[in-house]
């Protein structure tokens, strides 16, 4: 690296988790980037990943031109009677292009992060009261983390929310943190309550009963203490990560938490924060919802978008041979390989991804490094702009997808 050509970039947004921290300092020499301030393990690895110059597109194992790869991809979609377009990482611009393509070829659209749908099912069944990062940072005096250490998926969460150091200036005392059914990460001073994951729902049912003055026959003392502590909160927040609730019918656990929060708000203020946004899952949800009216797991039929959160789950469609072609996109993490399949498949992977077994592989740049873009933050409210940091000749996924759309006639 020639130090003379090093460029220092400040206020860089990091697209590699749902916190979308936008305060990173990154140096670049035109090829390689390095996070030099306010990085985390994730961002350092991801920004620092080498960019393979001139990485070719691959069709049937052979290097081909971009146009040839797009032509083959378009042919696959053209001859498919039921394609699946699956995101394992895409920003808003890519999702817009993906949805136009889905509309054109009658595809099902889903995301690999299955946790998101656990939250959506609760939203659609009973709703919730939620909050956002700046509210937590400035006003929360109690943060209850349920079933997640938070930092494995969202490394700087506590720092960004004014806990565990790193916060600038504010004199406000840090909120009390309690971990329920999870181990606190290093550096976070927190009380813990041991509960098995499959008992979380039961715990919140008990807490809810206490809120509503319906005292169960036997309540464990630590739960009773927790309930009392919660009642003293001026602004409490319960945090969960649906991705960490990896057990059957986890949506019922999330619902138990959300219904408890609603009942608390009859007399005090308390809010939930569903953690998410990794690999652009919330961006995918937002974009498909405003464009089609339905969340992910929607099939674009001749009669219009058809939503079914169970029938159109990507995992199920692939396992039951209910689709006959797969297009997979992962712009952020080259380790996010597509699901194994013998179907004709098209993969748009972050440049550097080892071409997986697939029919067509197109290496693409990363929004926030190779092109500008947008991602939605964990709180579902803030869309963070991603900047183009460097010009390395990477292909742009939206352009590639739009070219495929342009090559297809309307499927009906």
């Amino acid at each position: 690296m020639n130090p003379a050509s090093l460029v220092l970039l400040d206020h860089v947004s990091c697209p590699f988790c749902g916190l979308l921290c936008d305060d990173l300092s990154v140096t670049g020499d035109g090829k390689t980037l390095a996070v030099v301030a306010r990085g985390c393990d994730k961002s350092r690895v991801q920004f620092g990943q080498a960019f393979p110059a001139n990485a070719p597109c691959v069709v049937d194992g052979n290097p081909v031109s971009l146009d040839a790869a797009i032509e083959r991809a378009t042919a696959i979609l053209r001859s498919s009677t039921q394609p699946l377009l699956l995101s394992g990482g895409a920003d808003v611009a890519s999702m817009r292009a993906l949805l136009a393509l889905a509309d054109r070829c009658g595809a099902v659209v889903d995301h690999t992060n299955e946790g998101l749908m656990r939250n959506i099912l609760v939203l659609q069944d009973s709703g919730w009261i939620t909050t956002t990062l700046t509210e937590i940072r400035n006003r929360a005096d109690l943060v209850l983390c349920v079933g997640t250490d938070v930092v494995s998926r969202f490394p700087r969460f506590f720092e960004r929310c004014g806990m565990g150091g790193g916060m600038l200036g504010d004199q406000r005392p840090a909120p009390e943190v309690i971990f329920l059914s999870a181990t606190p990460p290093a550096g976070i001073n927190a009380r813990t309550i041991d509960v098995a994951p499959n008992q979380i729902a039961e715990v919140f049912a008990v807490l809810r009963a206490l809120v509503n003055n319906k005292k169960p026959q036997r309540v464990e003392p630590q739960l009773e203490q927790l309930a009392q502590r919660i009642q003293r909160a001026r602004y409490g927040v319960v945090v969960w990560s649906a991705a960490d609730f990896d057990f059957s019918q986890a949506e019922l656990t999330i619902q138990a938490i959300c219904e408890w929060v609603k009942d608390l708000n009859k007399t005090i203020r308390f809010a939930g924060l569903p953690l998410g946004g990794n690999q652009g899952d919330i961006s995918a949800h937002q974009t498909i919802t405003w464009q089609s009216g339905f969340p992910l797991r929607t099939r674009f039929t001749a009669q219009g978008p058809d939503y079914d959160p169970h029938r159109y789950a990507a995992r199920r469609l692939l396992a039951t041979d209910a689709v006959d072609a797969l297009l997979y996109i992962a712009e952020f993490d080259s380790n996010f390989a597509p699901p194994a399949t013998t179907l004709p498949s098209i993969v748009l992977g972050r440049a550097g991804m080892l071409p997986p077994p697939c029919t067509v592989f197109i290496p693409v740049g990363t929004p926030g490094i190779d092109r500008s873009g947008h991602l939605y933050r964990t709180d579902n409210v803030v869309a963070v702009p991603l900047k183009k940091l460097t010009e390395r000749g990477a292909y742009s996924a939206p352009q590639v997808l739009n070219q495929m759309t342009g090559g297809l006639a309307c499927f009906v």
Partner: protein, 552 residues
């Protein structure tokens, strides 16, 4: 050049009422006839009515809460889906249609511009992205202030009005807005501190600021900045019986400066009678008639299933007990604002709902000046925007109205003066309240009228006795001179522009904001603000920045 031949022009901005004239369109604009321009196409519209494209100045079409409503209510969308065609994208939705469908439906009804009235600065990108995916119509938005920590701190510190003006101007620019709206001034913030109701002269718990002070400060700011659209106000105490006193106090707080009261129907309730709920429409209409600085949109309710999506988290939490179906969302957002989404079914046999329906119509019919009262349903809160043609018929056709009145809860009908109101809106008045007046109050000089130089946003109606049928499916709709809809079907897809204002401010405010953001926020100031280039990335075709100069 395209010529529309022989139509009857209804163009209140230019005082034209039914005169037969030809219109000439070139380069997306209306032009004066000239020999220099060859007529390439003639469309004979003899006998048809011609109005400018309609403008909806208060419709929740984009932004976080609308998308929460969409995601929460797949049942609202089932049965309404349309598949993609070579021309159109697919979509769905009744109460909160998908963005693409929203653009098509508005155009099919002859609307060519829509304004999102509740854009949270923290969520402005989403609003602009959704509007960017709303085809054909022009868009614009009002940014929310008045519950944001920064303004409340400034007021708490007794900052000079000039500093607040700078902050308001900065917000308009940073969020790419056309105006400023305040929702339940101070109340959304107070709700975060566990206050459940805040009257106009009640100090908020944390900042000690009254809603009245917020209203006065913001109306002064917009006046000083010469922003064409006055402060757009969703008043305190929405939906509460007796809130008419709050609404009158809100008018008072403007101190004679221009103020726009949004969805006034929801703020016109008295508490007389056995049920302690009665119409305050007469007093509200009298207040509007007597205060020339006041304008209002009605927020008419119409019976059926809808969903209420509002920035007013305090009111929405209070109303969540009425959620139907029984699910709802409330959010506290970024020390900036809030939101609440509560599905709602208005029933004609429910006394309260029936009286709400009557109160809205009473206000329409008792406010004299169609330049200061606007046709809205507060989409989707009172009813979906697709019910506008039905509402127009209610206003224009007394016998139709009386027939509907006879079907509602009899006690509500008896409690309302609606049956005694003889007024029927004329086409000229409808054109005023849906075209000329909204363009004027938003400062859109080249929209809402049909004089040469105006954008060729034109709606042509085949005259019918049934106003609902007539307004549902115009014969032709042109957007910027392009034929986009024919007999209620989209036949051309264009992209509208985004209307904004960009008042100047003293850069000192940015310095102050920068340190505030670094200390308290979770996004940097530079990423909070949206540049013109980013607006194009968000999906806007182009920006039209209107001058900040008050039109007489």
């Amino acid at each position: 050049m395209l010529r529309l031949k022989g139509g009857k022009i209804v163009d209140p901005a230019n005082g034209i009422d039914g005169e037969v004239r030809d219109l000439y369109i070139d380069g997306g604009r209306l032009v004066a006839p000239s020999l220099a321009h060859k007529i390439h196409e003639d469309i004979d519209i003899s006998g048809a009515l011609v109005m400018a494209g309609a403008i909806d100045l208060h419709t929740h079409i984009g932004g976080g809460k609308v998308n929460i409503a969409r995601a929460m209510l797949p049942e609202d969308h089932r049965g309404t889906q349309r598949g993609a065609t070579p021309l159109l994208r697919s979509g769905s939705g009744r109460a909160t249609p998908s963005t693409l469908t929203t653009g098509y439906r508005y155009a099919e009804m002859g609307y060519t511009a829509c304004f999102e009235p509740a854009m949270l600065p923290a969520n402005a990108r989403q609003a602009h992205m959704e509007m960017g995916d709303t085809p054909i119509v022009d868009k614009g938005a009002y940014a929310l202030l008045g519950n944001d920590d920064f303004l409340l701190r400034l007021m708490q510190e007794k900052a000079e009005q000039q500093v607040i003006n700078d902050y308001v101007a900065w917000t308009l620019r940073a969020s790419q807005a056309l105006g400023i709206k305040v929702v339940n001034p101070g109340g959304i913030s107070a709700f975060k501190f566990n206050t459940r109701k805040l009257d106009v002269d009640e100090a908020s718990p944390h900042y000690g600021i009254t809603p009245r002070a917020i209203l006065t400060t913001l109306t002064r700011a917009l006046h000083a900045l010469k922003v064409p659209h006055p402060l757009h106000v969703h008043a305190s105490n929405l939906g509460i019986p007796g809130n008419i006193e709050t609404t009158l106090a809100t008018i008072d707080a403007a101190e004679g400066l221009p103020i726009h009261l949004a969805h006034i129907q929801f703020h016109s309730y008295a508490k007389e009678g056995d049920r302690k709920f009665s119409s305050g429409a007469a007093r509200i209409a009298e207040a509007i008639n007597g205060h020339r600085n006041v304008s209002a949109d009605v927020g008419q309710i119409l019976f059926g299933q809808t969903v209420t999506a509002s920035g007013d988290s305090m009111a929405q939490h209070r109303n969540s007990v009425h959620a139907r179906p029984g699910k709802w969302v409330v959010m506290d957002i970024e020390c900036d604002a809030g939101c609440g989404v509560v599905p709602f079914k208005y029933r004609d046999q429910n006394f309260v709902n029936a009286l709400q329906w009557a109160i809205g119509l009473e206000i329409f019919l008792m406010v004299d000046d169609p330049w200061r009262i606007f046709l809205t349903t507060d989409h989707p809160n009172g009813a979906p925007f697709t019910s506008y043609p039905h509402l127009m018929r209610l206003l224009m056709d007394k016998s139709f109205r009386d027939d509907q009145l006879s079907r509602i809860h009899p006690d509500a009908a008896a409690a309302s003066c609606l049956g005694s109101l003889q007024r029927q809106y004329s086409l000229y008045e409808i054109a005023t309240m849906t075209r000329a007046a909204p363009a004027r109050i938003l400062g859109l000089t080249d929209r809402g009228h049909l004089a040469p130089g105006a954008a060729a946003d034109i709606t042509v109606y085949q005259v019918q006795n049934d106003a609902e049928a007539m307004f549902s499916a115009p014969e032709y709709v042109f957007k910027d001179g392009v034929l986009v809809a024919r007999r209620g079907k989209t036949v051309g897809v264009t992209r509208g522009i985004t209307h904004t204002v960009k008042p100047d401010f003293d850069p000192a405010i940015e310095k102050r904001l920068r340190s505030y953001f670094e200390r308290y926020h979770t996004l940097s100031l530079d990423n909070f603000a949206i540049s013109d280039d980013e607006m194009i990335e968000c999906g806007s075709r182009a920006l039209l920045t209107h001058p900040c100069a008050r039109v007489a």
